[in-house]
Symmetry: C2
Subunit: 338 residues, 2 copies
């Protein structure tokens, strides 16, 4: 299949960052070169953690040694959480070098900035992500990250069009995939019937949009999945890894096809994880309650622990064995029609 260079966080326990991305890529046949931007005990959702961030000097030294030893050989590149502007600059320098040596390298840039209206990185990384955008093949921001990168508040179809235009035309991003978009009423109303007619009126849904640049505008595909209750960590990291793994540049509608695979598998993995969490004793699945969580930190820890992705138990899903309910993205033909 080829070789992926993955640059993102490492946690000892659980599945976020590299721990959510590397195993799926390996299962799908990729050799993965794994650069750890942090070495932490667990993800930050637990409320406390131990470990260290790799400094820019440490990252630079690793990249230099790889180059010296002729080991910078990736066909594909995946970048995720990289703490700090200096470290991100070291990565951006590497990406430029790889891209100039091999212009056809497939680069999936997951611009990890924040979620649900909250930035969880220092604001000085934003311009560096903007510098990386033109080097990417695909970006996989969430809704909030699209807003942050484009300075557009997404509140209606025209603003969504404006944001995609900025990404495709100003930043020269060939492909934008936004997963897990809360399906607000205006977005639901704008959807083509092929998608909206299949919505379960009793469930909440999340939308996934794939937009591939054309000369003037872009080709847009979309699909929904049912939203599962509660928060799961590492979902975006898993989705991005699967998106990169399934992207076949030779295939027509390459990004929409890859997003269909990634959406189907990620959703199946979430369902498996949700079903497992439901079997846990009550003390391990107490709902989010900021007051109670603050009074008893272990309350949050137990909830988080029970909601770690079931990647290992669900590895057949990663390999595409016995998948049901394929979430094929559908053309959104009149997306650009006024």
């Amino acid at each position: 299949m080829g070789r992926v260079l993955s640059i993102q966080s490492h946690v000892v326990f659980g599945y976020v960052g590299g721990k959510a991305a590397v195993f799926p890529l390996q299962c799908l046949g990729y050799d993965v070169d794994v650069v750890n931007t942090v070495n932490f005990s667990n993800h930050s959702g637990y409320g406390r953690l131990g470990g260290t961030r790799s400094t820019a000097a440490e990252l630079g030294q690793i990249f230099e040694s790889l180059e010296q030893n002729l080991l910078l050989l990736p066909d594909r590149l995946l970048t995720g959480y990289i703490p700090g502007a200096e470290g991100l600059t070291a990565v951006a320098d590497l990406v430029e070098k790889l891209k100039s040596k091999r212009p056809d390298i497939i680069y999936l840039l997951d611009p990890v900035l924040g979620d649900s209206g909250r930035l969880y990185v220092a604001p000085d990384v934003i311009p560096i992500y903007r510098r990386l955008l033109p080097l990417s093949t695909i970006i996989s921001p969430n809704w909030f990250e699209v807003e942050t990168l484009t300075d557009i508040v997404l509140k209606d179809l025209p603003s969504l069009r404006r944001a995609l235009t900025i990404l495709h035309q100003d930043y020269h991003v060939p492909n934008v995939v936004i997963s897990s978009i809360p399906l607000s009423p205006w977005l639901k109303d704008a959807l083509p019937a092929s998608i909206s007619s299949n919505l379960d009126p009793d469930a909440n849904h999340l939308l996934c949009i794939a937009s591939s640049a054309t000369t003037d505008t872009s080709t847009v595909h979309a699909q929904t999945v049912q939203q599962l209750p509660g928060y799961f960590s590492g979902v975006g990291d898993l989705f991005s890894a699967l998106l990169l793994a399934h992207y076949d540049p030779q295939s027509p509608s390459a990004v929409s096809r890859a997003a269909s695979q990634a959406l189907t598998k990620t959703h199946a993995m979430l369902r498996l994880t949700h079903e497992y969490a439901e079997t846990l004793p009550e003390e391990d699945r107490q709902g989010t309650d900021d007051e109670k969580d603050a009074a008893d930190p272990l309350r949050k820890v137990r909830r988080m622990r029970g909601r770690e992705l079931r990647l290992i138990q669900g590895q057949d899903i990663l390999r595409g064995i016995g998948l049901q309910d394929t979430r094929e993205l559908q053309p959104w033909a009149d997306f650009w029609a006024s």
Copy 2:
């Protein structure tokens, strides 16, 4: 299957340490908590590398956070290369804690000290490994590491018996598995006919011995594999991971059975890697030549790169799919007979 805490080295490129152990354990159904004792660009066989060692303080902080967050939950423990006496002491303290909290934890200790007569760690780690020995369920030293830990030169059957007696009785190690032993003439002559009668007279062989302590002495099993030309890195790390993965404490002859699986799969993976290396262009498979390697460091780099284990391409082997030539260990009934 359960949860393994793996504490060993990490390399970005290639397959040694954790990169050789974690994926096989995951394929076989284990959740793996991964502690990186170093973060290096590549293994040391390339002649040069970049990256950093985790300090004892960093390791201690990660262990403390895991404990605080109730995330020290392993059923099994695997330790490999840990640089420096201070870091190893931090690990030894953790092992003692885990063992006292959960006496039935299965601990595979791979005492990484050196190979072929050469120590590649500082001598002050040796007493700390000796402190760890009584905490282990299985140890997987190579020939040289047995000599180093026991202070016995292995030169005949009586010296091998003495070394095993020291490990089992003085250090209370329940199970000792020594793989990749060069089959010297005295060792060949001592083998039972069930093993020696199947040796190919035109090939070199390596011996694997598994010794399980009994009240007085031990039960010994053994088997050979054909030696493949040249040196492969990460083989011991892969073998140890498979040995731990296949160890079923409920099964009779648990260690000999697990060693049979580990030997069969490791040998099949080596054969796959060797066959691949043979297909490379000539400049990527120049034999070891210290003089030429010194004159052109990239000569060595190219050879090493072509001999990285083909874990990803051979993942069916890890899962036990389509395995041929099972290397079942055979009883060495008269091992202790004088």
